[in-house]
């Protein structure tokens, strides 16, 4: 399996707090069956500003250690950018790295508030020849309240990445329901773990996979966890199936 959303790099953001923890997480990931991992630590202007070069150095050093101890995990560079007006420019200048040096850019939105320039950012990224991936849409309140907004993002050309653990209710019931809604509508293209700590998500992967298999079946799970992420790593453009419309619920 390929994990395209993690916070395993030590001391860069609110993810792993030490090198020890990073290696524990990597071993857990290996146990859980992940062979390729993108280290997508946060990039938040004014808060976590590790640029592409810093990340590359650290990843390469980690990879060297991993190779020495013969854990066959391959690490890739990446970042989870926080949406801002300047974000597309930072990607263009190479300060925010794309995932595995491909065209795909992973970014997140604020969880609880509404940002009015999402469409604009998506448009600018696509105009620059990048492909935007929006991280964990099921966790945003705007999507929970009106899921059809996520379909609009897809129609504009964005991809959506859901979190594995949402399906077992780690981020609350609203997230879980929203995820199921989005999965029904064919609106999720990737799965990632978004792991921040050791002993958290990787150790529960068995249950999570079981749950996913129950809900969407083996074949689709394979597409979301393996086939589509593989396209990201190889920087291949692909056209997913069209999403269905989601009707807005009047009463909730």
């Amino acid at each position: 399996m390929i994990d395209i959303h993690t916070h395993i790099l030590p001391n860069i953001d609110d993810g792993s707090a030490s090198i020890d923890e990073t290696f524990k997480m990597l071993h857990e990931a290996y146990e859980a069956g992940f062979t390729e991992i993108c280290a997508t630590s946060h990039y938040i202007e004014g808060q976590y500003e590790f640029n592409s070069l810093d990340r590359k150095c650290i990843i390469k050093a980690l990879q060297k250690k991993l190779d020495q101890e013969e854990t066959s995990i391959k690490l890739y560079n990446g970042a989870e950018a926080y949406i801002s007006e300047e974000m597309p420019e930072l990607v263009k200048e190479g300060i925010i790295p794309t995932i595995a040096n491909s065209k795909y850019v992973l970014f997140e939105l604020p969880l609880n508030s509404k940002v009015m320039y999402i469409d604009d950012v998506i448009e600018r990224l696509i105009g620059m020849g990048n492909i935007p991936i929006i991280a964990h849409p099921e966790r945003y309140r705007i999507v929970q309240e009106n899921s059809s907004i996520a379909i609009d993002w897809i129609m504009q050309g964005a991809f959506l990445q859901a979190n594995y653990a949402s399906i077992v209710g780690r981020y609350g019931n609203d997230s879980k329901e929203t995820l199921l809604k989005l999965l029904d509508a064919n609106a999720i293209h990737f799965l990632g773990t978004d792991t921040h700590r050791k002993n958290s998500i990787y150790v529960k992967m068995d249950d999570i996979i079981k749950e996913f298999k129950k809900k969407i079946g083996d074949d689709r799970l394979k597409i979301l966890s393996e086939t589509n992420p593989r396209n990201v790593l190889n920087s291949i453009e692909f056209e997913p199936a069209l999403p269905k419309k989601i009707k807005k619920k009047l009463f909730r």
Binding site: L9, P10, N11, I12, D14, I19, D20, F23, E45, G46, Q47, F50, N51, L53, D54, R55, K56, C57, I58, K60, A61, L62, K64, K65, S84, E85, K92, P110, L111, N112, S113, K114, V115, M116, Y117, D119, D120, I122, E123, I126, G127, M128, G129, N130, I131, R139, R141, D152, M155, Q156, G157, Y171, G172, D174, H196, R197, S200, E237, E239, P240
Partner: protein, 345 residues
């Protein structure tokens, strides 16, 4: 400085996140117009004007802009308390040319401005409470002041008085680029809000939005605690933390949307590729990549000092060139992390 300035005290909290969103939304709504001066006001008192303006100003200052916050509520001034600064001399002293002891004295505006603990943020406090604030604001000196400040600062934020009770804010709204109303959940009356909107419009002020304050958010909404748990404010601020912002479009500001709706999947625009500023010969790019690889490798192989010297020399050599091949070296923190990885086990 009080803990009220959450954007500074705790930049990672959900409340700060909301203020950053508010800041960028304001910037976005005014992308094609000038938005240097912003007035924050409300219908009646105690809706959260001062708190919102202090935090918004801090959020602006954090982007590196030079920001000044003006306490234009000369009836119940609060900003100097929030930032723990002196109240005099301030706006009223500057406008009336009377010092705090009641003697005539001419102030230059720089005398009245104080630096806050927040980098890039200055405060012009209210000054003594004058008997006639509205008349003071009507003098030409305010417009002069505004002109001077516009040269000096990039963002100017007014914390105004409530606009239904007194006319102070209505007067200021004529001069500023945009006016924002703070309304309080389950407190502000709809008719009051309509009246406030009417008053601001009647003098030609540009009302660009409403901030909805004091919305109760069930703790469930923050179920994603693992993200923020360590950063939540201590319990003293529980009440404060129950805020949320929502922007309502009041006027013709509309983010453009329609054009992109029907676009097909992922078709990069061609014309962007021809953008001259960013096209570079392929060969050069390739060399860049090779060079970067080498730098990284050297770092990992612990040849740090040697490479560093070389890079510094190269940076020095390429200063002023349009496309410097070596842009930077890994930051100190990254180097620390690298070192500890290399020493691990």
């Amino acid at each position: 400085m009080k803990k009220e300035v959450i954007t500074q005290a705790d930049p990672k909290s959900p409340v700060s996140e909301v203020f950053r969103a508010l800041r960028t939304n304001l910037q976005f709504m005014n992308r094609f117009g000038k938005s240097q001066t912003i007035l924050i006001t409300s219908t009646v008192q105690a809706e959260g004007k001062s708190w919102v303006s202090a935090n918004l100003a801090t959020a602006y200052a954090q982007t590196g802009r030079k920001v000044i916050l003006i306490d234009a509520d000369m009836r119940k001034p609060r900003q100097h308390k929030i930032f723990s600064l002196k109240m005099c001399p301030g706006l009223s002293n500057y406008l009336s040319e009377v010092n705090e002891l009641g003697r005539r004295e001419k102030f230059s505006y720089m005398d009245c401005i104080q630096k806050t603990e927040v980098e890039n943020l200055s405060l012009l406090p209210s000054g003594n409470i004058p008997p006639n604030p509205s008349e003071l604001l009507l003098t030409e000196k305010l417009e002069e002041l505004l002109k001077e400040l516009e040269n000096e600062f990039e963002v100017i934020i007014f914390d105004g008085a409530p606009c239904l009770l007194v006319t102070d804010s209505t007067i200021i709204s004529r001069m500023v680029d945009s006016t924002v109303l703070v309304v309080s959940h389950k407190y502000t009356k709809v008719d009051d809000l309509k009246e406030a909107k009417k008053r601001i419009k009647s003098v030609g002020g540009k009302l660009i939005g409403v901030v909805l304050n004091r919305v109760e958010i069930s703790s469930k909404k923050y179920a994603d605690k693992y993200y923020y748990a360590n950063n939540m404010m201590p319990s003293t601020n529980v009440k404060r933390a129950k805020h949320r912002e929502s922007n309502e479009e009041v006027e013709e500001v509309k983010p453009r949307k329609e054009s992109s709706r029907e676009r097909e999947y992922i078709k990069p625009k061609k014309e962007m590729k021809e953008d001259k500023e960013y096209t570079r010969p392929k060969q050069e790019k390739h060399e860049d990549k090779k060079r970067e690889e080498k730098i990284i490798q050297d770092y990992i192989d612990d040849k740090v000092e040697d490479t560093e010297r070389k890079i510094m020399e190269e940076i020095e050599k390429e200063k002023g060139k349009r496309f410097a091949t070596v842009k930077e070296v890994p930051s100190d923190k990254a180097r620390e992390i690298l070192e500890s990885i290399n020493n691990y086990k």
